[in-house]
C-alpha cells in the first residue's frame, strides 16, 4: 500500500505543507494505540449521536402516525395542498448531495485534494438548492395564504377541522429537517475552509469529513421517509 507516502507534494506550498494542521503533520492523540482506533472510536460516537437524531424524528413520526390514524380526512386534504414535484426534486437533490458527500470521503482517502474540495462544494450547493426550493416554492407560497402551524393558522378554505394539526406536523417535520440541513452544510463549510487553509484532510486524517458525511446521510434518510409520508398520501 503506497497511496499515502508516495503522493506528489511538490506543488503544495511550503506554508501549507509545514503547517501543523496539514494532514501529514497531524498525529492521532497519544492515548490511542493506532490512528485506526481513534478513527473507529470517533465513528462509533457519531453513530451513537445519529441514533439520537433518529429518535428525535421518531417523535415527530409518532405524532404523524397517531393523527393520521385519527383524522385520515384531514391528512388526505393536507397532502393535497403539497406539490409532490417539489418534494421529488428535493429528494433528487439530497440523493445527489449524499453521493457527493460519500465521494468526498473516498477522495480524501485517496489524497485527491482538488476533487475532494469540488465534491464538498457541490454538497454545499445542493444543500443551498434544497433550502431554496423549500423556502421559496413551499414555505413562502403557503405561509402568506394562512397555511401556518399551530395558532398561526388562518387559511379560510380548509375543509376539515383537524387540518391545523396537519400543518403543524408538516412545518415541524420539514422545519426541523431543514435545520439539520443547515447544520450539515455548516459542518461541510468548516471542512472546506480547513481543506483550503491547511489541507487538513488526507488518507490518515479525515475523521471530520467522514462524520460530516455520516450526518449528511442521516439527514438524507430522514427526508427519504418524510417525502412519501407528507407528499404522497392520496
Amino acid at each position: 500500500m503506497t497511496m499515502m507516502t508516495d503522493t506528489d507534494t511538490t506543488n503544495i506550498p511550503a506554508r501549507i505543507l509545514q503547517s501543523p494542521k496539514h494532514w501529514r503533520n497531524r498525529p492521532f492523540a497519544h492515548h490511542w494505540r493506532t490512528g485506526d482506533e481513534e478513527f473507529d472510536a470517533a465513528k462509533l460516537g457519531m453513530w451513537l449521536f445519529l441514533s439520537t437524531e433518529i429518535l428525535l424524528f421518531a417523535g415527530i413520526f409518532c405524532g404523524y402516525a397517531i393523527f393520521r390514524l385519527l383524522y385520515p380526512e384531514a391528512w388526505a386534504n393536507g397532502s393535497h395542498y403539497l406539490d409532490w414535484r417539489f418534494g421529488a426534486a428535493n429528494t433528487a437533490v439530497l440523493l445527489v448531495s449524499s453521493w457527493t458527500a460519500a465521494n468526498s470521503v473516498r477522495l480524501a482517502q485517496l489524497d485527491k485534494q482538488f476533487w475532494f474540495k469540488i465534491n464538498i462544494v457541490i454538497t454545499i450547493i445542493c444543500a443551498a438548492l434544497f433550502l431554496f426550493i423549500k423556502l421559496k416554492f413551499e414555505y413562502l407560497a403557503k405561509l402568506p395564504a394562512g397555511k401556518a402551524p399551530g395558532t398561526f393558522f388562518s387559511y379560510p378554505f380548509a375543509h376539515d377541522p383537524h387540518e391545523p394539526l396537519w400543518w403543524s406536523l408538516y412545518y415541524i417535520g420539514t422545519g426541523l429537517h431543514a435545520f439539520h440541513v443547515i447544520v450539515g452544510a455548516i459542518l461541510f463549510a468548516v471542512v472546506l475552509w480547513r481543506a483550503f487553509r491547511y489541507q487538513s484532510y488526507g488518507p490518515t486524517q479525515y475523521t471530520l469529513v467522514e462524520n460530516s458525511a455520516l450526518y449528511w446521510h442521516i439527514v438524507d434518510v430522514i427526508w427519504i421517509f418524510l417525502f412519501p409520508l407528507l407528499y404522497l398520501i392520496h
Binding site: T34, S51, A65, I66, S98, R106, L110, P161, V221
Partner: protein, 278 residues
C-alpha cells in the same frame, strides 16, 4: 493486521511506545479503512434515483387505478407501498454510502438497536390508539375529573412564565378552521364579501376558492376520456370508507352567522362534488 516490523523494538507491540504521538511513517493506516469504489457509488445513486421515480410512480399509479377502475384501495396499500420502497432506499444509503456493510458490525447494531427503540415507541403508541375504544366502557364508572384545578387560561404562577410566542386566540368554542373561515384572510377578499353580504351567491365564494386553492391536478380528466368511456369520477364508488376530501360547505357551518344557510346546504348536499370537474 500485518504490522510493519522495521523497528525491532516493536515486534510484540502494535505501535511504537517511544514515540509520544505514535507516528510511524511506514505504518499504513489503510488496513482498517475501506475505500469505496467510484462506480459502485454511482450505481447506488442511480438505483436510489430510480426508486424515487418508482415511489412517485406508485403514488400516481394508485391515483390512476382509483380514477379509471373505480376501485377504492384500502388505506394501508399506500402506506405499505411507499414505506417499503423508502426502507429499501434507507438500507441502501446505510449499507453503501454510510459503509455499514464494510464497517465493524457494532455500528450496525447501534443503529438496529435505535430502530428497535423506535419500533417500541410507535408500536406501543399504536396499540394504545387501537384499543382506546375498549378501555372507555370498562372505565366509564371510574372516570373522575382530574387536573390540577387550574384552568388552561389561568395566569401563570410566576410572571416570568408569561411569555407569549403564538397569538392567543379565543375562538369561542369553534374549531380553528371555522374561526379562520369566519375571519377571512387578507389574500381572500371574496370570503369577507361573502360573509358580510347576505345577498352574495355561494358560487362567488367557490369561484374565489378555486381560484386560489390547489386543485386535484392528479385527477384531472381534461379531455373527458374516462367520462366518455362511462367512468364518471367517484360515482360508482361507495364513499363509506373513503379518506378522499369532500367538497362543499359542511351543513350548519355558517348557520350561526347566516341562519338561512342551514336550509340551502341540506338540499345541495347530494350534488356537492360532481359538477366541478372532480
Amino acid at each position: 493486521m500485518s504490522q510493519d516490523t522495521t523497528n525491532s523494538d516493536t515486534t510484540t507491540l502494535g505501535w511504537d511506545p517511544t514515540d509520544p504521538h505514535g507516528i510511524n511513517p511506514h505504518d499504513d493506516d489503510h488496513h482498517g479503512h475501506f475505500v469505496a469504489d467510484y462506480r459502485m457509488q454511482v450505481t447506488i445513486l442511480a438505483i436510489l434515483l430510480a426508486f424515487t421515480v418508482v415511489t412517485v410512480g406508485f403514488y400516481n399509479l394508485e391515483q390512476w387505478v382509483e380514477v379509471s377502475f373505480g376501485i377504492l384501495l384500502p388505506k394501508w396499500v399506500n402506506i405499505a407501498g411507499v414505506m417499503s420502497i423508502a426502507v429499501v432506499k434507507a438500507v441502501l444509503v446505510g449499507a453503501f454510502f454510510m459503509q455499514l456493510k464494510y464497517d465493524k458490525v457494532l455500528n450496525t447494531f447501534v443503529i438496529l438497536f435505535c430502530l428497535f427503540c423506535v419500533a417500541l415507541f410507535l408500536g406501543f403508541a399504536m396499540i394504545d390508539l387501537d384499543d382506546r375504544g375498549l378501555v372507555d366502557p370498562m372505565k366509564a364508572g371510574e372516570i373522575q375529573a382530574g387536573g390540577t384545578g387550574v384552568g388552561l387560561n389561568a395566569a401563570p404562577a410566576d410572571p416570568r412564565f408569561a411569555v407569549d410566542l403564538a397569538p392567543k386566540i379565543n375562538t369561542g368554542g369553534k374549531s380553528l378552521v371555522q374561526y379562520a373561515r369566519l375571519n377571512g384572510n387578507k389574500l381572500h377578499p371574496g370570503l369577507n364579501a361573502y360573509r358580510d353580504n347576505p345577498d352574495m351567491d355561494e358560487a362567488d365564494f367557490w369561484s374565489e376558492f378555486y381560484g386560489s386553492h390547489a386543485t386535484h391536478r392528479d385527477e384531472l380528466d381534461e379531455s373527458n376520456y374516462f367520462e366518455s368511456l362511462g367512468f364518471a369520477h367517484h360515482d360508482a364508488v361507495s364513499t363509506a370508507n373513503a379518506s378522499h376530501p369532500r367538497h362543499g360547505i359542511t351543513p350548519g357551518l355558517f348557520s350561526d352567522v347566516d341562519p338561512a344557510e342551514g336550509h340551502s346546504a341540506g338540499g345541495e348536499h347530494a350534488t356537492e362534488s360532481h359538477d366541478d370537474g372532480h
